[in-house]
Symmetry: C2
């Protein structure tokens, strides 16, 4: 990985406990931030969902995405060509088109992560209890350590958002860790994070 600036390692404040990450072995995984789920008139809204519930995740993800790009972290987008403009993939980033709700099954994600030597995933996107939770469960069974960014995830249903996160960190972190964008920014760029996290706190 091209690590152009920032520390190679950092400790992210998280629950059930802080987690030390080697950023060269860490990927940022952004799930389903696609226009069809996020925008009025899209598929999510036609199902009767309140798409405004999802908008809150955009700024925190954008802040972490910028920091990840700055240090050359591997960035993986799961969604295809329909990603919202604010988080649109760069040409050198990985885009996974997925047939189902999990990002691993029947996709090349596992191979890509292995190729890059990835051991840890910073996970964000929508929705918390559906595609984010399914992917974290898949990643956990495959041996990856997942840190889910609470303010970088969202659900059409606030109670599912809350419980989806709670299920991940329960019983000593049975599926992984829960953190937020500010904590990740502090770990990646301790000296610049104070200004970067405006609007990105929980």
């Amino acid at each position: 990985m091209a690590n152009t600036k920032g520390p190679l390692t950092g400790t992210v404040a998280a629950e059930p406990e802080p987690i030390a990450l080697d950023f060269a072995a860490t990927a940022l995984l952004i799930i389903d931030m696609q226009r069809d789920f996020m925008e009025p008139g899209g598929f999510g809204e036609t199902l009767g969902n309140d798409v405004s519930q999802l908008a809150r995740a955009v700024k925190p993800i954008a802040a972490v995405l910028e920091a990840a790009r700055d240090i050359g972290m591997l960035v993986v987008h799961k969604a295809g060509h329909d990603i919202i403009p604010e988080l649109y993939p760069l040409d050198n980033e990985v885009v996974i088109d997925k047939p189902g709700k999990g990002a691993f099954y029947a996709t090349e994600l596992g191979d890509v992560l292995q190729q890059y030597g990835i051991e840890n995933l910073l996970v964000c996107g929508v929705t918390t209890e559906v595609c984010v939770n399914t992917t974290v469960r898949e990643a956990n069974d495959r041996g990856y350590r997942c840190v889910v960014l609470a303010d970088g995830c969202a659900s059409y249903f606030p109670e599912f958002h809350e419980m989806g996160l709670k299920m991940i960190k329960a019983q000593g972190g049975i599926f992984g860790w829960v953190s937020d964008s500010a904590a990740v920014l502090r770990a990646i760029s301790p000296e610049t994070s104070k200004s970067a996290v405006a609007g990105a706190s929980r």
Copy 2:
């Protein structure tokens, strides 16, 4: 499948809506009903969990297991040799040893189900939000229709049990259907279910 008695098809009362099942293409999947999770002094209790929360699922599962065996339905146990005596596998039933929380990843389950022409899964076991939910999500991505038996599942945490079921049937059944043992017994054995369901209602 040897269908010795009972109807070949039936409609199971469920949420978000009733589901018609071809029982010859349906398997009963019993997840992690192992002594280590269920009994005092086992692994579940050493993690600080209240194992008495899980006991309530045993009788409903036993009733459905008996009915499934009666009609020759494929029965799959996920747990290994440590299954509790009340639900112990018969020699002709499939036992999947799993490395992780999902029953599909890195196991022969998918191959077995395909070999038997299975399209639908009646899912029960523990815990609702961990291994049951993970397996249902895997099954959904693989195209299986899952009917989760609410009273045949349990969690150390009642709120996770409730929300785990709610997440499955939300948005028109985004991961599957939620039913209970009495409804499945009615669909399998309409004429005998009245006596069989004693103690197995929600």
